[in-house]
Symmetry: C2
C-alpha cells in the first residue's frame, strides 16, 4: 500500500541544514564516504557511498513513486537542472506556478491549493508506490495535517549548533513515533526509519 | 584508559528535556518499555527495560567511575535523595557549595572553580574508569573546552518541537564526530555512541 514518507539527512542535534555555518559539507559528507558509486544527477560526478548505504538508497528509490517538495527547495536547487536526482516526478507545492513552466509534465507538477491537495495529487501519480516528502517546512505541514506515515532519517554525526529543524514546531508536541522500524549502518551515517502514530 | 563521556536520552529532534510540553514522560518511556528490571534508585520501583537496554546500561555503569553534573540538575532532582541512581560519586559544578553539605563525601564532591577543575577532580576520583558528564549545559562546556572524548545518545522516537538541546550552541560549529562507534537497539530507544574529533 502507498505510504507517505518524509526523509532527510539530519545532524545529531536535529538539523537538516545550517545556513549560517554552511553545514551542508558535513551533513552530506556520507555521500562521498564510501566506494560504491550512485548516480547523483550530475554527469561524471557520482556519489560514492558505503555498500550498505547504496543498498538502502536503492531500496528507498524503488519504493518511491513520486516526490513532494516546497517551492523553496525547488528554487534553491534551480529545479535540479530539470529533473529531481531521484529520477521521479516531483510535485511542487507553491503559491504560484513558475512562469517558465506553463504546464505540468513528467518532471514537475505544480499544486497551489495546499498540502492536502499536493499529497492527494502525489498519491494519484504514485499508484501503489510511496510518496516521498522533502524539506522541513513541507514535512511539518504533512505531519500536522496527519498525512505522514513514516519518517526516514539519515543521522549524521555532526553538531551544527543551530539551523533548520527536521520538522520544527509541530502542532501536537510531544508526538511519539514507533520504532525505529529499520536501522541500517552506513559509513558516516545511520539510516533510521520510524512509523508515525496517528492520534 | 579513562575517557570523558557525555550521555543523555534525546528526542529525535535533538532535545534532552522539554519544560513546556512535559516531554519527560515520552523521553523516558523506554525505561518502562521492557521486562528486565533495573535498580532505579527508588525502592520497589525498578526500571523495566528491554534486555538489550539492560545489558547496555550494565556495561555503561561498569565503565563509569564518577559523574559530573551541574548545580541545576543537582537541585532539580533534590540531590537524587542523597546519592545518584547510577550509584557513583558525583562531582557537582557550582558557584557556591550548598549550605547543607559543608564537606565532600563519597556521594557528592563540589567544585566551584570551573569545568576544567571539575573534570580534573572527576578524573582523579575515576582512576582508570570513565567520567560521565550529564546535563546539556555542562556537556556543552566540556565540549567547548576540548575535554569530551565521547558522546552517548539514547535516541528516542519522539518529536518534542522545542526544549533543551543536547549540547546547544557549541562554539566551534559545525563539529564532526566519528561513528557511531556502537549501536544497540532497545525497545523504544536506540543507544548510539560517537567519538569526539579533536581539532
Amino acid at each position: 500500500m502507498s505510504k507517505v514518507t518524509a526523509g532527510a539527512t539530519m545532524s545529531l542535534d536535529g538539523f537538516i541544514a545550517d545556513a549560517n555555518h554552511g553545514g551542508f559539507e558535513q551533513l552530506f559528507a556520507w555521500y562521498g564516504a564510501g566506494d560504491t558509486e550512485l548516480p547523483s544527477g550530475l554527469p561524471d560526478m557520482p556519489f560514492k557511498v558505503s555498500a550498505a548505504s547504496a543498498e538502502h538508497i536503492r531500496q528507498t528509490k524503488e519504493r518511491l513513486g513520486v516526490l513532494v517538495v516546497g517551492r523553496r527547495l525547488y528554487d534553491m536547487t534551480n529545479a535540479w537542472g530539470g529533473r529531481h536526482p531521484m529520477d521521479k516526478t516531483t510535485v511542487v507545492l507553491t503559491h504560484q506556478r513558475p512562469d517558465d513552466r506553463p504546464e505540468d509534465d513528467d518532471n514537475f507538477v505544480f499544486v497551489t491549493t495546499g498540502i492536502e491537495d499536493a499529497v492527494a495529487k502525489a498519491k494519484e501519480i504514485a499508484g501503489d508506490k510511496d510518496v516521498g516528502v522533502n524539506g522541513g517546512e513541507i514535512a511539518r505541514q504533512c505531519f500536522d495535517a496527519g498525512l505522514l506515515d513514516e519518517v526516514h532519517v539519515d543521522l549524521v554525526p555532526v553538531f551544527l549548533g543551530s539551523g533548520i529543524p527536521l520538522l520544527g514546531q509541530i502542532r501536537d508536541a510531544p508526538a511519539m513515533l514507533e520504532g525505529p522500524i529499520s536501522v541500517t549502518q552506513g559509513t558516516g551515517v545511520t539510516h533510521l526509519s520510524y512509523r508515525v502514530v496517528r492520534k
